[in-house]
C-alpha cells in the first residue's frame, strides 16, 4: 500500500512533467511531449461552455494563495456580454524565497501559454497579458521567444489553428512590488496607475482591466489546464484531496537536506514533505527542528506538534498560501525573523490605508527595538494594538499578512521575545 502510494506520487507529475525534458527555447520539443494537444482538442471539439464545465468538474483551485475555484472566475467572466475581455497570467511572484512560477516559466513556458489560450477561449478574451515580475529577466526572455514561436505555429494570433478564435499575448513587466501580485493592484499598474488594490466589488471578472471583464490566474493554476483538458477532469479530481484536488509545487527551504521545488499531491502533510526521502529528506546534519513557516512571509508558524497537518486549499488551520515551507532549526534567532518579516511588509505596504501604512512602520520600529534589546516599557502593549489593527481594519489582506507570523511568534515564543537576552 505504501509502495503504491509512493509510485502513484512519482507518476503524478502534472506541473513538472516537462521540466528538464524539453528545451524551453524550442516549441517542437514541447509539442513532441504532447504539448498543444489540449489546445487542439479545445479548438476542434469543445465549446467555451464545455471547457468551463470541465474545469468546474476538475475542482481546480487558484494556486496563488487564496484557493478560489478557477471555474468560478471563468464562468463569471464568460457570462458577461462585454465585447472586450482580458485574460491575465499572474507571474508577479514576489513572496520572499518563492520562485515556483519563475521556474515554471523557465522550464516549461509553453505550458503557461497553452493554459492561457484555453482560458481565453473559455471566457472569450482576445487579448492576454503575462504580468511578470520585473526582476525576472531571464523568464521574460524565454516567454518572449515562446510567444513568438507560438505565433509562428498559429497557436496564437488571428484564427488559431484554423478556427475563428483570435488571441494575442503581451508581456507586461511589473516593477516588483509585492502588492502588485494582488489582482486589482496588478490591473491598476497595467492601466498605468499606482500599484494599489482597488475596492471590491466590482470584482475583476465583472469590471477589471480598463473596466472590462478580466480573469487573473496564477501561473501555476494555468499549467494545470492542459492536463485537465487532455486527460479529463475526473482523473485530475481523483488526485489529492476531495475538496482540494490536484498536485502542488512545494518549496522546501531552510534547514532541510534537499531544498528546492517538489511536486506533491495536495493533502500531503508537512511531516512527510520535510522528512520523506523523495522530498526534503529530513533536516540537515546536526540541526534540530524548531518550527516551520508555511506559505511565505505571510504564513503561519507550525511547531513540531502540528506537523501532521495536511496541506490543502479551503478553510484550514494552516493556510497553504503559495506552498513554501521554511524549516527553521533551533540555531536560528527568532528576533532576526521578526525584523525580517516586519521589514518586508513595511517596505511593501502600498501606503493606501492608515493601519497598514503606519502600522507596518511601527511594527518594524518595535522589531528593531526587540532585536537591539532596548524595548520601551509600553512596547508590548503597543505591539498588541498594532497587530490587532493590522489584523482587523486594513483595506486589503496585506495588513493581515503582516500580522500573521508575528501573532504566532508572540503566542508561541512570547517570553523569549519580550525578555531581554
Amino acid at each position: 500500500m505504501i509502495l503504491l502510494k509512493i509510485i502513484s506520487k512519482r507518476f503524478m507529475q502534472i506541473l513538472t512533467k516537462n521540466w528538464d525534458k524539453i528545451d524551453p527555447f524550442h516549441i517542437d520539443t514541447y509539442a513532441r511531449s504532447g504539448g498543444y494537444e489540449a489546445l487542439r482538442k479545445v479548438i476542434r471539439e469543445m465549446t467555451p461552455e464545455s471547457v468551463v464545465k470541465e474545469i468546474k468538474i476538475s475542482g481546480l483551485q487558484g494556486r496563488g494563495g487564496a484557493g478560489c475555484p478557477t471555474a468560478l472566475k471563468w464562468e463569471s467572466a464568460a457570462k458577461t456580454k462585454a465585447q472586450d475581455k482580458y485574460f491575465i497570467c499572474n507571474l508577479d511572484e514576489s513572496e520572499p524565497g518563492v520562485y515556483k512560477d519563475r521556474t515554471i516559466a523557465e522550464k516549461s513556458p509553453h505550458q503557461i501559454i497553452e493554459g492561457m489560450i484555453i482560458g481565453a477561449y473559455a471566457i472569450g478574451a482576445k487579448k492576454g497579458f503575462i504580468y511578470i515580475n520585473g526582476h525576472y529577466e531571464k523568464s521574460a526572455e524565454i516567454l518572449t521567444v515562446a510567444i513568438k514561436q507560438a505565433l509562428e505555429k498559429e497557436f496564437l494570433g488571428k484564427g488559431i489553428m484554423g478556427s475563428s478564435f483570435d488571441f494575442e499575448i503581451e508581456i507586461f513587466r511589473g516593477s516588483g512590488a509585492y502588492i502588485c501580485g494582488e489582482e486589482t493592484a496588478l490591473i491598476n499598474t497595467i492601466e498605468g496607475k499606482r500599484g494599489e488594490p482597488r475596492l471590491k466589488p466590482p470584482y475583476p471578472v465583472n469590471s477589471g482591466l480598463f473596466g472590462k471583464p478580466t480573469v487573473v490566474n496564477n501561473t501555476e493554476t494555468l499549467v494545470n489546464i492542459p492536463f485537465i483538458i487532455s486527460r479529463g477532469a475526473k482523473i485530475f479530481s481523483g488526485i489529492g484531496m476531495k475538496n482540494s484536488p490536484g498536485t502542488k509545487l512545494f518549496l522546501l527551504e531552510g534547514a532541510v537536506k534537499s531544498k528546492g521545488i517538489f511536486e506533491a499531491p495536495l493533502g500531503t502533510s508537512v511531516q512527510e514533505l520535510i522528512y520523506n526521502s523523495i522530498y526534503g529528506g529530513g533536516l540537515e546534519e546536526g540541526k534540530e527542528f524548531w518550527f516551520a513557516q508555511i506559505g511565505g512571509a505571510s504564513g503561519r508558524l507550525m511547531t513540531a506538534g502540528n506537523l501532521d497537518q495536511l496541506l490543502v486549499y479551503g478553510p484550514a488551520e494552516y493556510p497553504l498560501g503559495c506552498g513554501s515551507i521554511l524549516v527553521v532549526d533551533k540555531s536560528m534567532d527568532l528576533k532576526d525573523f521578526l525584523v525580517s518579516w516586519s521589514g518586508f511588509f513595511h517596505r511593501e505596504s502600498c501606503g493606501k490605508c492608515v493601519p497598514c501604512r503606519e502600522g507596518t512602520f511601527r511594527l518594524h520600529e518595535i522589531a528593531k527595538r526587540i532585536r537591539n534589546n532596548d524595548l520601551l516599557p509600553d512596547d508590548q502593549e503597543r505591539l498588541e494594538d498594532i497587530l490587532w489593527t493590522l489584523g482587523n481594519t486594513t483595506f486589503c489582506p496585506l495588513g493581515n499578512f503582516a500580522a500573521t507570523a508575528w501573532k504566532d511568534a508572540i503566542r508561541i515564543f512570547g517570553d523569549k521575545i519580550f525578555k531581554a537576552a
Partner: protein
C-alpha cells in the same frame, strides 16, 4: 428597503452606502477621507469602521453598500478600539504643532483626536519637534520625507501635516480635471505630491485647500506683508473687499452661513488700520460696463464667439495652459479686483493727490488664485504693481483673531464713498451666474434702449454645473451659458471645439457655485453651506435700490471725469489686458 442601525430601522435605497444612510439620519460616524463634495471614498482612513451582521470583521461604512437584512452597529468596543488605534497612528505621523498651526481649532484631525482622547504620543512622532531630548536619536531614524512647496504665489503645501486622505487628489482630478496631485513613493514614505515633486503648477483655484482636513494644503499666508504695510507710516493702505466676502466673513466668527456682514467687515478693516476701504463691487460694476460693451461690439462685428468671461483668474489660467486656442474668446476685461486697483493708483491717487508709490492696495478675496493674478506681469497699468497684497477671508479672520479684534462688537462702518458705492448687479458676482445676470441687465438695456421690466434672470441661476439659456433681445436670440467647476467648463470647450454648441456668451467660474465656494472661503464648506451663502447674495441684490451697474453714480462719474466711455483708449489701457499661451 430597510436596514437596522444601532437597533433602529431606517429606510434606504439599495445603492447607498452605510455611511450615507447614517449621515442622512443624523448618526455620526467619524471619517477623515470622505467629503460631501467628492466622489465616494475608497476607504483609506479606516475611521468609519462599523460592525455588521454580514461580516465577521469590521467594514468601512463609506465603501460598503447596504443590503437586505443588514444590521449595523456604529459604536461598540471594537469600533472604538479600531478608531482609537488608527487615529493614534495617524496622530504620530502628523506634525503635531497645533498651537502654531493655521488650522488650529478648525482641523478635522485635531477634532477627532480630542474626541478620542489622544493627547499624548505612545509612538515616537515621525514628524515635528522631539518631545523629549533623548528621543532625538529615535526621531532621526523616523524622519520621513517632508515636502514643503512655497514656490507659487497662491497655495502652500507642507506634507508634514498630510494624513494621506486623498481628498485633494480627488478634487483636483474629478472636479477640476487638472490632476496636479498624485501619490509619490510607497509604504510609510508615501506622500501626496506633484509629479516628480516639482513645484505645484496648476490653476491655483485652491479647492484642494478647501477639502484638506488638516493644514497640509493651505492658502499662502500674506498676513505678514499686510502687517508690515500697516506698520509703515509712509504707506497708505487702501483695502477693497470682494462681493462674496461680505457674505462669508461672518462664518469665521460663528455666524450662520450667508449672514450679511458688510459693515462689520469694513469696520474690522478700519480697526486693523486700513486708511480707506473701497468696494470691489464697484470694480464689478465697471467690469460689467466694459464687458457689456465688448459683447455688443462682438455682436456688431460678428465674433469671435463665444465670448468667455475673464473674472476668474483660475479659468483664465486654465485656458492659457490647456486650451490656448480659445484665448481670442476670452473677454479682454480685467477682473474687478484689478480694475479697481488700477483705478485707485491712477484716478483716485490723482484726485486726492497721493503718490501712487505710497499706496498699498490690499484686497480681501474669496480666492487663492487672486494672489496669483495680482502677481501677473501685465497687471501694472498704473505704472507699478496694481494690487499689492491679496488676503483670503481665512487669512483676514486669522489676523483679526490674532489682533484680538471682535468684529461683532465694533461700530458698523460704511465704505468710503469715493469708490465705495455699489449695485446689486455687482453683488451678484459673488455666485455663479451673477456675472451673466449683471451683464444681461446692462447689455439688454443698452441694445434695446429700453428699461427692463424684470431684472431677475432666474434662468441663469441655480445649482446645475452647466446652465444654458436663450435670451431674446429685439429679435436677436442671445445664447448664453453659465458654467462652474472646470470639469463642466471642459465639457463646454470640447463641445464648442466639435461645433456642437453655438453660444454667444459664456460665464465660467472655476470653483463650485462660483466665488461663494472659492478656495479662500471659510471652512468647512459643502453644498448646503454654499446654498445658504447664495441665498444671502440673492436677497441682498433684491433689497438694494441700485441693481444695475450702469445706474451706479460713481461709475457714471468715473466715465464722465476720467474714462470717457467704455472701450475708450484710457479704459483699454487701465481696464483691459492680454493673455499668453502657456501650454507646455
Amino acid at each position: 428597503m430597510q436596514i437596522k442601525i444601532n437597533n433602529k430601522s431606517y429606510d434606504c435605497n439599495p445603492d447607498e452606502t452605510i455611511l450615507s444612510v447614517c449621515k442622512k439620519n443624523g448618526i455620526r460616524v467619524p471619517t477623515l477621507c470622505t467629503h460631501p463634495d467628492l466622489l465616494p471614498s475608497e476607504g483609506a482612513c479606516r475611521m468609519c469602521l462599523v460592525e455588521t451582521n454580514q461580516a465577521k470583521c469590521l467594514v468601512s461604512s463609506c465603501t460598503t453598500k447596504v443590503c437586505e437584512g443588514l444590521e449595523v452597529i456604529t459604536e461598540s468596543e471594537k469600533t472604538n478600539k479600531a478608531r482609537t488605534i488608527n487615529l493614534e497612528l495617524l496622530w504620530a505621523d502628523h506634525a503635531g504643532k497645533c498651537a502654531k498651526c493655521k488650522r488650529n481649532g478648525n482641523c478635522e484631525l485635531q477634532r477627532l483626536a480630542k474626541e478620542f482622547n489622544i493627547d499624548e504620543f505612545r509612538f515616537v512622532p515621525r514628524r515635528g519637534e522631539p518631545a523629549l531630548p533623548d528621543e532625538i536619536d529615535l526621531i532621526k531614524d523616523n524622519w520621513s520625507h517632508v515636502v514643503v512647496d512655497e514656490e507659487n504665489p497662491s497655495i502652500s503645501r507642507d506634507s508634514e501635516y498630510c494624513i494621506e486622505c486623498r481628498r485633494c487628489v480627488k478634487v483636483c482630478r474629478d472636479i477640476q480635471t487638472v490632476e496636479a496631485y498624485g501619490f509619490n513613493h510607497r509604504s510609510s514614505k508615501s506622500n501626496v505630491g506633484t509629479p516628480y515633486e516639482k513645484p505645484l503648477d496648476c490653476i491655483f483655484c485652491g479647492q484642494c485647500s478647501m477639502v484638506c482636513p488638516t493644514a497640509a494644503i493651505t492658502e499662502k499666508d500674506d498676513t505678514e506683508k499686510l502687517e508690515q504695510a500697516l506698520a509703515d507710516p509712509k504707506k497708505m493702505v487702501i483695502a477693497q473687499t470682494a462681493p462674496s466676502t461680505r457674505f462669508t466673513f461672518s462664518e469665521e466668527f460663528g455666524q450662520n452661513p450667508g449672514t450679511f456682514w458688510e459693515k462689520q467687515l469694513v469696520a474690522t478693516l478700519k480697526e486693523l488700520g486700513c486708511d480707506k476701504v473701497f468696494d470691489t463691487v464697484l470694480g464689478a460694476d465697471l467690469t460689467i460696463m466694459e464687458e457689456a460693451n465688448e459683447l455688443i461690439e462682438r455682436i456688431k462685428k460678428g465674433g469671435p464667439f463665444p465670448m468667455f468671461t475673464s473674472c476668474c483668474p483660475s479659468w483664465v489660467l486654465y485656458i492659457e495652459k490647456y486650451y490656448p486656442e480659445f484665448i481670442p474668446n476670452l473677454s479682454t476685461c480685467k477682473s474687478p479686483q484689478q480694475m479697481l486697483s488700477s483705478l485707485i493708483k491712477t484716478y483716485y491717487a490723482e484726485k486726492e493727490k497721493f503718490d501712487p508709490e505710497n499706496i498699498v492696495n490690499l484686497s480681501i478675496m474669496p480666492c487663492t488664485s487672486k494672489k496669483y493674478e495680482a502677481q501677473r506681469k501685465e497687471m501694472d497699468a498704473s505704472g507699478q504693481k496694481d494690487t499689492d497684497i491679496v488676503l483670503t477671508v481665512r487669512e483676514l479672520a486669522r489676523l483679526v483673531r490674532e489682533r484680538k479684534i471682535l468684529p461683532s462688537y465694533l461700530k458698523e462702518k460704511k465704505y468710503d464713498p469715493a469708490l465705495g458705492i455699489s449695485t446689486g448687479a455687482g453683488v451678484l458676482f459673488a455666485a455663479s451666474g451673477g456675472v451673466m445676470e449683471a451683464a444681461l441687465r446692462t447689455a439688454v438695456e443698452r441694445i434695446t434702449g429700453q428699461e427692463l421690466a424684470k431684472l431677475d434672470f432666474e434662468i441663469v441661476r441655480g445649482e446645475a454645473g452647466i446652465r444654458c439659456a436663450g435670451i431674446d433681445i429685439d429679435g436677436l436670440n442671445l445664447k448664453v451659458a453659465v458654467v462652474h467647476e472646470i470639469r463642466n467648463a471642459k465639457k463646454i470647450l470640447e463641445e464648442i471645439k466639435q461645433g456642437k454648441s453655438e453660444y454667444h456668451f459664456v460665464e465660467v467660474m472655476a470653483c463650485p457655485n462660483g466665488c461663494i465656494g472659492g478656495g479662500g472661503q471659510p471652512l468647512p464648506a459643502d453644498q448646503e453651506i454654499r446654498n445658504a451663502r447664495i441665498k444671502g447674495v440673492l436677497s441682498r441684490d433684491k433689497g438694494m435700490s441700485l441693481r444695475k451697474s450702469h445706474d451706479n453714480p460713481v461709475i457714471k462719474k468715473l466715465y464722465k471725469e476720467f474714462l470717457e466711455k467704455p472701450g475708450s483708449e484710457k479704459a483699454e489701457k487701465l481696464l483691459h489686458t492680454k493673455y499668453t499661451n502657456r501650454k507646455k
